[in-house]
């Protein structure tokens, strides 16, 4: 055990979200404002009492710096912003919670708003609505220049090359990917907030349109509009807050020096990503009072089904290469599965809010109000995108 001084010293006291939809005709500011005010109200607080703010960098200009002023929040004594998209959501919550635990602020808002529907474009910039990769310019100044002109035009083609190699090395099958998709939709079908609720079978998955071989349509997350926010408070306040607190218990990140344009996924030397992932799981559980068998549910960044399987392996719920077989027998489906996964339906079925809706669902599990509730949920793991520098945390009941 490597316990750290800040553990169990902050908790999520409020959650808030907008409606989720393929297109809401609303600005990201507008959606963020609704989610933030709802989360503050849920926490039993007033906007003026918020003195910390945390979000991701991958937003349109002005979002991070001005949100507190736009909403008339309190005087900020702590604000932090995390790079990356799906590789930023768990860390956005965690860095905010560290600010509360260390006494820099009393009540912090962490949030995410996205207008990703194709009709939700509000400007030509990559982060001004719609899909960023459909808004490329004639010249590519970033690392995308090594992928896009060659046909890896967006995350799905990149993820497909990674998935193909894992299937080759470890014998993952189409059914293994499908088991993830079916678990996500099973949970989504029970969730009235979910955009995708129609039941899905393994056959539906295996016969869905091929997008980038081996990834099919039903291996991919959806694109939606919406916003989520949470309030993190001191434990002193959390104990008397209107809802049971979801306590910030453990957190770590893992990255390697070669993380650039996915190079670590291919390189077999010391910075290979299997080392990155294994380190993340080892460090997280070294801090934790909970062992793997004690974990009630797992929230992963499910941009593609294969990365849910990799997340399960990285965190140590099974050995390397055993993740495919781990999905069998309804293992990922609540309430009876061995490790219920994304019990809201995740980015596949509920909504694509760059993972932040996973944080809200983890809180719902701890509060006991999920639509796919795991009985007596006491500890939930949340992990962000493995294709970015990656972080994970554990929330626990008090």
């Amino acid at each position: 055990m490597t316990k750290l001084w800040w553990q169990d010293r902050a908790a999520i006291t409020g959650i808030g979200q907008t409606e989720y939809s393929r297109g809401l005709d609303r600005s990201e500011w507008d959606m963020a404002a609704e989610a933030i005010f709802k989360a503050i109200d849920d926490a039993g607080l007033k906007p003026e009492e918020i003195d910390g703010l945390s979000t991701y960098n991958l937003q349109h200009e002005g979002f991070n710096n001005y949100m507190h002023q736009l909403l008339g929040l309190g005087n900020m004594s702590y604000y932090v912003s995390q790079p990356h998209g799906g590789g930023g959501y768990a860390s956005t919550l965690a860095h905010g919670a560290l600010g509360v635990a260390s006494g820099h602020c009393n009540h912090l808002v962490a949030f995410r708003a996205r207008a990703r529907g194709r009709k939700s474009i509000f400007g030509p910039g990559m982060n001004e609505g719609g899909r960023p990769w459909e808004k490329v310019e004639p010249r590519l100044p970033t690392g995308w220049q090594y992928h896009v002109p060659f046909g890896l035009q967006s995350p799905v083609q990149e993820a497909a090359t990674i998935t193909r190699r894992y299937m080759h090395d470890y014998g993952w099958t189409e059914d293994h990917l499908g088991n993830v998709a079916v678990a996500l939709r099973t949970h989504g079908s029970r969730n009235p907030n979910a955009v995708m609720r129609a039941p899905m079978t393994l056959e539906d998955h295996n016969s869905s349109r091929m997008i980038s071989d081996p990834l099919r349509l039903l291996d991919c997350c959806i694109e939606t509009d919406g916003a989520c926010a949470v309030v993190v408070s001191t434990m002193d306040y959390a104990k008397s807050a209107p809802h049971p607190p979801a306590v910030f218990h453990a957190f770590t990140q893992s990255n390697q020096p070669a993380h650039y344009q996915l190079t670590e996924w291919w390189h077999s030397k010391r910075w290979n990503r299997e080392v990155t992932g294994a380190n993340l799981g080892k460090r997280l559980f070294a801090q934790s009072d909970f062992k793997h068998d004690d974990i009630s549910a797992l929230m992963v960044y499910d941009h593609f089904t294969s990365f849910a399987i990799l997340s399960i392996e990285d965190l140590g719920f099974c050995g390397r290469g055993e993740g495919g077989a781990f999905t069998e027998g309804g293992a990922l489906i609540a309430p009876d599965g061995r490790l219920p996964l994304n019990t809201h339906g995740g980015q596949h079925s509920e909504a694509f809010i760059h993972g932040f809706n996973n944080v809200i669902e983890a809180v719902r599990q701890i509060r006991g109000v999920s639509t796919s509730q795991v009985p007596d949920a006491r500890a939930v793991v949340v992990i962000e995108a493995l294709t970015d520098p990656c972080g994970a945390f554990i929330l626990r009941s008090n």
Binding site: D30, F122, E137, P138, F150, T161, S212, P214, Q261
Partner: protein
């Protein structure tokens, strides 16, 4: 109450092939491609090859290097067949086989199209050879074809 509806936003995706914008760190790589030579940075400290171009060696941290010509031979380490074209340029090029190529020189991987391989014939381990596709006045892309053996 929140407001709905929004002003018209004009957006149409770029129809051409998006091209690399060479930088101080990588312009030599693209210049050599233009001359139909595959040259990568070889560390003067430990001899390790590296790609994508960068200022320092991740193995030994030396900042000294030479642009060394490599064989251009490799094998398919992984691949995808892109069926859905994200960008308009690729619409008439799908299904499009794209490989992650492991160079014979060692732990160096390059992404490139498999230009003469039928989508159904791509296999991990398939030997390939670099070829150069001139796509603009200043840009040539290193792509891949089946090796003869």
């Amino acid at each position: 109450m929140t407001q709905t509806g929004k002003p018209e936003t004009r957006f149409s995706p770029y129809a051409g092939l998006p091209l690399p914008q060479p930088s101080w760190d990588n312009y030599k790589f693209w210049e050599y491609c233009k001359a139909h030579e595959l040259r990568l940075q070889k560390c003067s400290g430990c001899g390790e090859l590296r790609y994508y171009p960068r200022p320092a060696c991740p193995e030994c941290h030396s900042m000294e290097f030479e642009w060394t010509k490599v064989s251009g031979k490799g094998t398919v380490y992984s691949y995808t067949i892109a069926h859905h074209p994200v960008l308009p340029f690729f619409a008439d090029k799908v299904p499009l086989p794209v490989g992650v190529i492991k160079l014979d020189e060692g732990e160096v991987y390059m992404v490139g199209r498999l230009m003469d391989v039928d989508p159904g014939d791509v296999k991990i381990g398939m030997p390939v050879q670099v070829m150069f596709e001139d796509v603009a006045e200043d840009i040539t892309l290193p792509q891949w074809r089946r090796a003869d053996d």
